[in-house]
Structure formats: structure tokens, C-alpha cells
Amino acid sequence: MQPQLDRNLRLTLLSNMVLIRAFEDRISELAREQGRLPGMQITCHGQEAIAAGVVRAMIREDVIVTNHRSHGHMLARGVDPNTLMAEIMGKRDGLNRGKSGTLHLADPARNVLMTSTVVGAAPLLAMGAAFAQHYRNEQAATSVFFGDGAAAEGSVHEAMNMAAVWKLPVLFVCESNCWAGAQSHDEHCPIKRVADRAPGYDMPGVVVDGNDVEAVYIAAKRLLEQCRTGRGPAFLECLTYRMHGHGEIDEQHYVDKDELAAWAERDPIELYVKVLQTDGVLDSRDAVEKQAVQTVDAAVAFADASPYPPPEEALEHIYVHPIGQEG
């Protein structure tokens, strides 16, 4: 039995997930409209509980490093949906002035420090960020999100090894969604649970149901606490399923329809709504959803109203002091 969580927290977990879903639904729609969203769109449909659960378990000083499937992490962390949507559209008022698009979002003011879309790179960046926290003796940790496919990369190994040798405060969050592109788990990983590698780095490896937001929250909270108190890194594997294609263009011809349907039955939002309704915590699901849709409507309106940044601005933001104009 999981301990009972605070009512407000539970409602926040739900509303975070609902907002993420509404946002990703809209991305999914917009991606089908010709010329609306530049590039391939990767959503986190089905993985909302991991974003909400882990991020709510973080304290303000904690830092996030994430990967190509980052919208949920950003929204859970409170990144402004307006600038987020504008960024995804490549607009001037985007979070990163249209320099990132969906793939490399950063909001350092909210400690969403960096995103890398090089698979496996985020854990190395996170290890470096956690080093800084450790170096400064901060009571803070870094959570890094990556996929089960990423676990094949040498970079993840090096990050875990160095974090472990130096006891750095990193929580490695592996979103095991059964796929890496069109490759299934057993095509890239010889063992069933990536977390079983954690003991090889002398760190705890915890496996949770990634569609159970409270389970994720509770595990993350405990492990982050351990990270913050000098006991070194930890590994949290969240079992889930990628409900959309790898990108919105991907029609998942390689996915077993029954498997997908079975996971749809375990939708993290539906599951949690049921729990909260049973516990009498949730009055109106509709209100939460309506609010989310309004937020997303506003974000799209904001983003649509923003122009593209000027082409020549492509020359900016490379160096702090542009070359030839140093002090």
C-alpha cells in the first residue's frame, strides 16, 4: 500500500497530466496541418505520469535535463505553455527565440537546464550539472530523463559510472516505453529491466509502474532525497508504453494492435481519475480538462500571433560576445 498523498498534491498531479495530454493532443493535430509545425513532432502520449510524478517530487533547486521527448517535463516544471508552443512553432516569442524548436528546449530560469536530442547525451550533461551541485555543496539534485533505447549508448554508461564513482546527486529516470524508434526492447537490450544494471554502478535501481503517477512520485521522492543527502546517484525505471508513433508521422505499422490496445486500457490519466474519484478527491474531471484546453488554446493563439524571428538572427547567440566584437 502506498501512503496517502496530500489532496492538493494529488490534484496537481492530475492537472499536470491533463495539461500535458491536452498540449500533446494539440501538437498531434497541428502536426497534421501542412506547414504549421516545422520538423518532426515527438509527443509523450501515455508517458504523462512519469513527467508529472518525477517533476512534482523535485524541489525548486533541483535541475532537469531532458531529451527529445521533453514537452511533458517542461510543462510539469511550469514552463510557460505560450512560449513553449511558440518555440515549437519556431517563432520569435518562443522560449528560445525559435532556435530550438521542439527538440532542444531549455528554460534555465525554471531549472530546465538543457535538452539534448542526441540519444544518450542527456545523462552526461546531467552528471556534469550534478557535479556543480555537489561542488557547491547544494542540497539539490538533477533528474535526467532518457529512453530505454538510450541505455544502449556508451554515454549513459559513462555518465552512470562517473556519477557513481563521485557520488553525484543524479536521478537517472529511464522511461521504458518498449520502443526505440521502430525497434522493440529486445532488439536493443539483452535484459528485461534496464534498472537491473544499476547494481553494477553501486546504485539503487528501482522499477515502478510508469503509468501510476503516485508510484512514480513516491519512488522519485525517496530517490531524490537520497541524491540530495550525499548518498550518490540512483536509477528509476518507469515502465510505460509509447502511445503515439515515434514521431507524429510514424504510423506504427510495426506495433501490435492488441498490445497497444491493452496499454490504452492502462491510460495513466484514466487510471488516476478513477483512483481520485474512488477516494472522493476529484469533484469535476471536466473542469480540469476544460482548464487545460483553455491553456492550450491560449498557447496556440499566442504562438500564432508571434512572427518568425528575422532570418539574420541566425547569426546570433553563438558566442556571448560575437567574434570581432569582443569587449
Binding site: G90, A150, Q183, E187, H188
Partner: protein, 328 residues
């Protein structure tokens, strides 16, 4: 001769190679089962056709993909491995640079490494972690050969030469060409020799050397210039290493003017080598300074207007040539 897309032409080269030699196998991320279902992709349905022994989806593990190629080729196989996008070449670069390119040398000629690395390049609104034109890096490393086709027939002919070459060959494929360029492709095992450039258009007033997709940009500029009475010779290098220096220099000696064009950034790009070579060899024969048309020295931008800003255009090429011939 049949008209095929660039991607289909690569596929035809790969298919022939797989048919002709049991030692040829393909490996890479999503080359068998892919999230993209597109008949213009070079490995489209090759898994179905040749099975997972010959056509192998790999983990997301670029160092291992390259290590696989080096190790297996040393044992006499002919691996053809794919690096999904050019920036991820960095992850494979130790294997390719320090091993594929050097181990034959270090063995005193006892070993050889008949491997092919296919690197997908090009811009597709994904930004600089997916797009980075690094051919100059590869060309700077002795021990590698580097080819860069611009059209379907060359793509097929160069991939065949690459696969059956006894040394490591890197072939750079610009993804956007896969479906955007269609042209005639000869049937059968018709190879394009490594190190032989092609005159894509004859001209008298200036020489332009390019490779890959921008050859078409150059041809468009040449078309425009022709209407103005300026005749631009366009050389499609096809192979950067070995480089067909004679073709370039002969043309420059004929026209007396030289310009290079590439999608890579200018500073230390491959164009620097071409201009340096021409400056060294054709001193006193040039009627105007040599010129480089290239991307500005910035990462590939994401947002569409900036991506467009990055890309060298036919207009820029035409303007540059006009200036060279004193007509601007």
C-alpha cells in the same frame, strides 16, 4: 536505363551488392524496420527481401555500429553501415578515424578494412544536432575515401564502388535528395570510379566545383547566367578523396576563374582546400580572385526562415559569378 529517385538508386546499388557478394551485410538504426514507410528510402524493404542476417537493425549505439564494421571487415566481410545523421558521426568517430582509417597502416599492410559507412546528411527542420555538414573532417583523415553523390546514377555507381573497394569508404547521402531528385539510372552492375569528377555542364567563363545536392543549385545558377551570356562550367566532384584534381585544374586553366560551393560552413570547409589548390597551381592564370560560396559560420538553424538563410542559394552563386566575370 530507368528513371529512379536518388533513394531508389542507392537501394538498387545496395541490392546488387547484397546479391553479388554473400559477405556484404547492412547494419544501422532502423534500416530494416523503420518508422518511415517510404519507397524512396535506400533500405526500403531490404529486410523483407534479404532477411535479418544480411540487413540488421541495431541498437542506438553508433560506436558499436562502427566497431562492428571495423571488426567484421578485418575478418573479410564487406559491412555497409549507416550513421543516421551526420552529427552522430562524432559518436562513431573514434572507430572510423582511429581504427578504420589507421589499422591497416599500423599493421604494416597485413590487414585491410573493406567497409562502407553511409552517412545521412542534409537539413530537415530539426536543427544542428541533426544537421551538420562535416565532410571536411573526413577528407582531412588519410586512410578514408569520401564520396558524395549528387544524382541517382552516381549514387548507385558510387555505392557499388564503395562496397567493393578494399578500403574504408564513407559515402555521404543527402536525405532530401532521396525523393526530390529523379533521373535515369543504368541497369546492372555499373560502377562509378572513385576519384573521377564529372562535368555537369560545360562552360567557358568560370569554373564552379561542387558536390552533392548543391550541384543542382549550381546548375540552376548556370541556367540563369546563360541567359545573361555568362557561361559557367559546373564540375560535380563526386568524390572528395580521392579528389580529381586534374579535372578541376584543367577547367580552371580553361576559364581562368574559380568558385566553389557547399552547404558546409565556410571556415575550414572543403572549399578552402579547393581554393588553396587552385591558388597554388593556377597562380597567374586566374583572371579574378577565387571565391567560395558556402554557409555562414553558424550552426544549422532550426526555424524555417533561418534554415533558408543558412543555405547557399542559386542567387548567391549567380551574383558571385557575375562579380568574377566583371558583370555586376
Amino acid at each position: 536505363m530507368t528513371v529512379k529517385s536518388f533513394g531508389q538508386a542507392v537501394a538498387e546499388g545496395l541490392t546488387l551488392a547484397l546479391e553479388m557478394d554473400e559477405g556484404v551485410f547492412l547494419a544501422g538504426e532502423g534500416i530494416g524496420t523503420s518508422i518511415h514507410v517510404n519507397p524512396h528510402l535506400p533500405t526500403y524493404q531490404l529486410l523483407e527481401r534479404f532477411g535479418s542476417r544480411r540487413v540488421r537493425d541495431t541498437p542506438v549505439s553508433e560506436a558499436a555500429i562502427a566497431g562492428l564494421a571495423v571488426g567484421a571487415s578485418c575478418m573479410g566481410l564487406r559491412p555497409v553501415v549507416e550513421i543516421m545523421y551526420f552529427p552522430f558521426f562524432t559518436l562513431a568517430s573514434d572507430m572510423i578515424i582511429n581504427h578504420a582509417a589507421k589499422l591497416r597502416y599500423l599493421s604494416g599492410g597485413l590487414s585491410s578494412f573493406p567497409l562502407t559507412v553511409r552517412i545521412k546528411s542534409g537539413m530537415f527542420a530539426a536543427g544542428c544536432q541533426h544537421s551538420h555538414y562535416l565532410e571536411a573532417w573526413l577528407a582531412h583523415v588519410p586512410g578514408l575515401k569520401v564520396v558524395y553523390p549528387s544524382n541517382p546514377a552516381d549514387a548507385k555507381g558510387l555505392i557499388l564502388s564503395a562496397v567493393f573497394d578494399p578500403d574504408p569508404v564513407v559515402i555521404i547521402e543527402e536525405m532530401p535528395l532521396y525523393w526530390s531528385i529523379h533521373d535515369e539510372v543504368p541497369e546492372g552492375d555499373v560502377r562509378v570510379a572513385l576519384g573521377k569528377a564529372r562535368v555537369a555542364r560545360e562552360g567557358q567563363d568560370a569554373t564552379l566545383a561542387a558536390y552533392g545536392g548543391v550541384v543542382h543549385v549550381a546548375l540552376k545558377a548556370a541556367e540563369t547566367l546563360a541567359k545573361e551570356g555568362i557561361s559557367l562550367e559546373v564540375i560535380d566532384l563526386r568524390s572528395l578523396v580521392p579528389l580529381d584534381t586534374a579535372s578541376v585544374l584543367d577547367s580552371v586553366r580553361k576559364t581562368g576563374r574559380f568558385v566553389t560551393l557547399h552547404d558546409a560552413t565556410r571556415f575550414c570547409g572543403f572549399g578552402a582546400e579547393l581554393v588553396a589548390m587552385v591558388a597554388e597551381q593556377c597562380h597567374g592564370e586566374l583572371k579574378a580572385p577565387p571565391r567560395r560560396v558556402a554557409a555562414p559560420d553558424i550552426p544549422v538553424p532550426f526555424t524555417p526562415p533561418q534554415e533558408e538563410f543558412y543555405r547557399p542559394s542559386a542567387d548567391t552563386v549567380a551574383d558571385t559569378v557575375r562579380k568574377l566575370v566583371g558583370r555586376s
